[in-house]
């Protein structure tokens, strides 16, 4: 009746390592250390091939989506906390940027310090009371917070109510660079996004990142080893919030108009899908997942009615058959020897 998943996952990893047949060239491409640079180069070259407003619009949106997925990956992928209201941070960032730049007639980019401060604050407000909760309560509380944020934005006067904020001034001219030009803005977005993705990936390998992964694997063991789990989890939240804030700022200056319907639960779920499908914890996989989730609908317009149905089914199928995601992070530990595996299997058997 109980499925012994822990040993099963060991076996699948092992089987994959052995298979290495036709997929080997593919994985050698993906695991190549220059793959990130290649992706960045492609992103920079794309406007030279097609610089229509439509294409640039899609590409910029996709790049912003990548930031969100990278941020949620810190919370869900590294630390294993299910946040179903992640879009709230995008909302906080976007509204802060929009309100301030309209109020003081500032280019949106100059609101960045305020955006980051607001996002850290909201991360603290949401995280501090909830992170002591059981993991599944956390999921539903973040969902509640996401809805509260949207309802608040809809009802307050300063956020413009249901109409939201429009005519956000996005002009910023430095020398010959006019940031209102879609191409220039696209390049700016790419620079910010790639910096953030790189930072998130490095963060995952840092001391803090290892602590996050430990908390994800086994919170009690982590606590016993001297990791202050509450503090570490709160930090994951705050970092996730900052990434969300960056996304929000870019979002506000890209669209120049924001309104509550942009921050529905649906959006949170889409970001979560990007993280889960790409492979929780693996930044490269998450970037691919985010690009897939945001670009595929453009190619599959005929299936638009079934899009979310397919996404939902995909989530279930991936979790049932490949819970580590399509492209999971490669473990850095040495592989276990046969004797160690048997001992682990035995220990698992005894525990159950």
């Amino acid at each position: 009746m109980t499925i012994d998943n822990s040993t099963e996952s060991i076996h699948t990893v092992e089987a994959e390592a052995k298979k290495r047949g036709p997929g080997a060239w593919l994985s050698s491409i993906f695991e190549n250390k220059y793959i990130g640079w290649a992706a960045l180069g492609t992103a920079i070259l794309l406007p030279f091939i097609d610089s229509s407003t439509y294409t640039l619009n899609i590409l910029t949106t996709a790049a912003i989506f990548v930031v969100l997925a990278a941020g949620l990956n810190i919370v869900v992928g590294y630390c294993g906390l299910l946040d179903l209201g992640y879009i709230a941070f995008l909302a906080v960032g976007a509204y802060t940027a929009g309100i301030l730049s309209k109020m003081f007639v500032l280019p949106v980019l100059f609101t960045l310090p305020a955006v980051i401060i607001m996002c850290i604050l909201s991360g603290l407000i949401i995280g501090a009371p909830t992170l002591r909760l059981r993991s599944d309560y956390l999921a539903i509380v973040t969902l509640g917070f996401g809805e509260i944020t949207r309802i608040t934005a809809q009802n307050l006067e300063i956020t413009g109510g249901p109409q939201g904020i429009y005519n956000i001034p996005s002009y910023l001219v430095i020398g010959d660079l006019d940031f209102q030009d879609p191409v220039i803005f696209y390049f700016l977005t790419i620079v910010i996004v790639s910096g953030l993705v790189l930072a998130a990936a490095r963060l995952g390998k840092s001391r803090l990142g290892r602590a996050w992964k430990f908390v994800k694997e086994d919170e009690d063991a982590a606590e016993a080893m001297g990791i202050h789990t509450y503090k570490v989890k709160l930090l994951a939240y705050i970092f996730g919030a900052i990434w969300g804030g960056f996304g929000g700022m870019l979002f506000a200056s890209h669209l120049t108009a924001i309104s509550p319907p942009s921050f529905l639960f649906l959006q949170s779920a889409l970001v979560l899908m990007a993280v889960v499908l790409g492979g929780m914890g693996n930044m490269k996989g998450v970037v691919v997942g985010a690009l897939a989730i945001s670009l595929l609908p453009e190619f599959l317009r005929d299936f638009s009615a079934y899009r979310y149905l397919i996404f939902g089914l995909l989530l279930v199928v991936v979790m049932v058959f490949r819970p580590q995601g399509l492209w999971p992070p490669r473990g850095v530990e040495a592989e276990r020897t046969k004797a160690q595996r048997e001992a682990a299997a035995l220990a698992n058997g005894l525990k159950r």
Binding site: M1, T2, I3, D4, N5, V76, G80, L82, L84, P129, T130, R132, L133, R134, S135, D136, Y137, A139, I140, V141, L143, G144, F145, E147, I148, I151, T152, Q154, N155, D220, F265, A269, L272, V276, M280, A305, Y306, R307, Y308, L309, F311, G312, L313, L314, L315, V316, M319, V320, P323, R352
Partner: protein, 297 residues
């Protein structure tokens, strides 16, 4: 005052019906079934489909037709609940929490947008409306359909309470929630009892869906999202896993919401309910009637 209390109790009885399903499932396999609110939505759509396809002469039967449709809808939503459990949740029993939660979100998404794809995403008007006379009770305006719907909800809840406390299946459910492995060793057919739990919970949600459709007159594919969240709130207030707690929590949440929206304005109603949820989870996560549960290691 009496009006606010009555409205609160009425909405609360809907919450209670849905909260029961959440609470039963959580009590037995510690799974947060996100798809539960969507089962309620599916119930409303099944009721809508049957009523429109049977035509006007059947709809003219009014309340009788509605109860008949409600029973069919309960059977179907119960079956859907069992299928969802079998396909999405059972393979992951014993898997890490995160995986199970994500699966539940996926199942909820699939149900919502599955219905949207089949029945078009636009809201539909429910063909049978319950219009009735208004009676004044202690100064509160009470309509006859409201009384009937509350009676149905009450009967369903009473039957469930008896079922869980008096029958052998009910005893098996309580045993599994205490110790799944122990009950397996004692000869309880765990899988079939869990299936039955999903059936009952989903059937109650389906009943609530048909009732809500007939009362509010409008259904759409996202109607289960907010109410699912609120039913979860109700289950938490009462103490999740506790059947009577879920009923109490539903009524309490209805009251709190009615007074709250009177106090801070109707547009803050949902935000107020979720604030109550967050407060409860931080201050008293075990709810009013619940017992302390330790996290599975």
């Amino acid at each position: 005052m009496a009006q606010i209390i009555w409205d609160g109790l009425f909405v609360g009885s809907f919450y209670a019906l849905i909260a029961l399903g959440y609470s039963m499932v959580y009590g037995i396999i510690k799974l947060l079934n996100f798809a539960h609110g969507d089962i309620y939505m599916v119930g409303a759509f099944i009721g809508y489909t049957i009523l429109t396809s049977l035509g006007g002469s059947f709809q003219a039967l009014g309340l009788f037709a509605l109860i008949l449709v409600m029973m069919v809808s309960m059977l179907l939503t119960g079956t859907i609940g069992v299928i969802v459990e079998k396909l999405a949740y059972r393979p992951l029993r014993g898997a890490p929490r995160l995986a199970v939660l994500i699966t539940a979100v996926g199942a909820s998404f699939a149900l919502e947008y599955g219905v949207a794809a089949i029945a078009s995403p636009n809201p539909r008007g429910f063909p049978v409306r319950l219009d009735g006379e208004t009676v004044f009770v202690l100064g509160a305006r009470v309509t006859v359909p409201q009384i009937i719907l509350m009676l149905i909800a009450g009967v369903l809840m009473f039957a469930l309470d008896r079922y869980i406390r008096k029958t052998s299946t009910g005893r098996a459910m309580r045993a599994i929630s205490l110790d799944m492995k122990g009950s397996l060793l004692m000869g309880v057919n765990v899988n079939s009892v869990i299936s039955r739990t999903f059936f009952i919970g989903s059937a109650l949600a389906g009943a609530a869906g048909v009732m809500a459709g007939a009362y509010y007159g409008k259904i759409d594919f996202l109607m289960g999202f907010i109410i699912g969240l609120k039913a979860f709130t109700a289950a938490v207030i009462g103490g999740i896993g506790n059947i009577r707690g879920a009923m109490l929590g539903g009524l309490l949440l209805g009251l709190v919401e009615a007074f709250g929206s009177e106090l801070v304005g109707g547009q803050w109603r949902d935000a107020f309910a979720f604030a109550v949820l967050i407060l409860f989870l931080t201050l008293r996560p075990t709810g009013i009637l619940g017992e302390r549960v330790t996290e599975r290691v």
